[in-house]
Amino acid sequence: MGRTTSDALYLVTIVTFILALRFLSSPKHARKGNWIGAAGMTLAIVVTLAHRGLGNYLLIGIAMAIGAAVGAVGARTVKMTAMPQMVALFNGVGGGAAALIALVEFHDFAGGLSTVIATSTVLSALIGSVSFSGSLVAFAKLQELVSGRPIVFRGQQVVNGLIILAAVVLGITIAAGGAEQWMIYGLVAAAFVFGIMFVLPIGGADMPVVISLLNAFTGLAASATGFVLHNNVLIVSGALVGASGTLLTLLMGKAMNRSVTNVLFGAFGQVQAGAASVRVDDGRTVRATSPDDVAVMLSYARKVIVVPGYGLAVAQAQHDVRQLAELLEEKGVEVAYAIHPVAGRMPGHMNVLLAEANVPYDQLKEMDEINPEFPQTDVALVIGANDVTNPAARADTSSPIYGMPILDVDRAASVVVMKRSMNPGFAGIDNELYLDAKTTMLFGDAKESVVKLIAAVKSL
């Protein structure tokens, strides 16, 4: 296939990718968009295979079959709660591929590369490698193969500094025309270790931000690979992903009330320890309640807002919650779900989990939309959510989560909190809400409690 034809077809691929992202603006068309993107990807692969002077088709065919099979099986079997890890894993392999491409190119053309190409090769190897190892660590942390807590050791800064220094020196040497093979291996190795060191100190709760960032990294690595291979489809698609990943990372940081630098370099959990121990003892107590009482409250309410959090996902109670909501709706109660931007393990994760349980998406309301509705709500049913409902974020300037956007559940006429115990959430701070006079607590596993609630509502 000639260069002009393949360039034109690659352009079609780019357009399909843009459409795929564009269609994601509404759940109605999103799925179609994804297919359009997949079709574009297939086109790009076919066009590439038709390139003049290409050989080793058997090798490529076998490799594609293996990769596709692994990817398809992984994607089909993964549980929806494990989605963040899965994204991390697929992201890592993409980064790994970019790094390997750089290795091969350097092996073939070392010394004969122009500065631009050599620099792109360095970037592709460097970013791809960081993204690969970083994503694997993120995966291991989320999968709980490695402790989700921040892992810090003494002298870490020094070690990191040395690794970065080594990578930068090697990178500059190569870009300036250094052609020894060991240089690129050294660079890839340094970047690999750096990826590990970079993600290890970050806590499990912040992992989604990291994954999004690494996603952007892989995009940039792909873009750099495009410069190495003079391939526009790689440059443009990579840049598209790089830009969107970066933006998404910033949005997430905003929803968590954290700057991205803070996520990456400050160990949040440690700062909290001091604040958590300060407890105002003003005689208010926590009131526990029973499923029967809650069933009565819910059944005779006009409007109920369910506030699901990660606790609900952990307990796999989505299906039961939907059943409960349907029962209430049959009794004429208006039910809506309030979704905080960071509910679940990554932005929009809770929407996916509830969609899996067949909750219609028009019942899911985003924070800005639902907050004005709380004052007209009879019961706010908080299931396994904590920090995102803490009124301290609005009122208490000394609170570490002050300023974080929250769901105003405390403005509802009454609040029922379903929770395992009084343990604090991710941020490690107490929740004022639990001491509020209109709040009652229903302790226990979310799934068991909801099942009991369903039985109680039915028997009314």
Binding site: L59, I62, G67, M86, S212, A222, G238, S244, L248, G348
Partner: protein, 94 residues
């Protein structure tokens, strides 16, 4: 370089229109898109002529193919679950 800058702007423009509700599929969708490195992987594997480049090229294609297929399939699985209110019970109801 021009196209790079344009692509970045386009990326920001398109993404800012995606609602929070769909951010997880968005992440996995963009994840699938950077699987485009498969094009690069095929190019290097297809021109490899010694043992080293063949092996590395092979691994690169495996990784990239997993990225592409896994990314699109998982995104599709998520998106197919988003449905509207009308059909009270979907065909896949458990």
């Amino acid at each position: 370089m021009t196209i790079l800058v344009l692509a970045i702007f386009l990326g920001i423009e398109v993404i800012s229109k995606v609602p929070t509700m769909l951010h997880t599929p968005l992440m996995s969708g963009t994840n699938a898109i950077h699987g485009i490195v498969i094009v690069g992987a095929i190019l290097v594997a297809g021109t490899a002529d010694d043992g080293f480049t063949k092996i590395v090229g092979f691994v690169a294609v495996v990784l990239a193919a997993a990225n592409v297929v896994g990314g699109f399939v998982v995104t599709d699985r998520m998106l197919q679950m988003f449905r509207r209110r009308e059909p009270r019970r979907g065909p896949h109801d458990e």
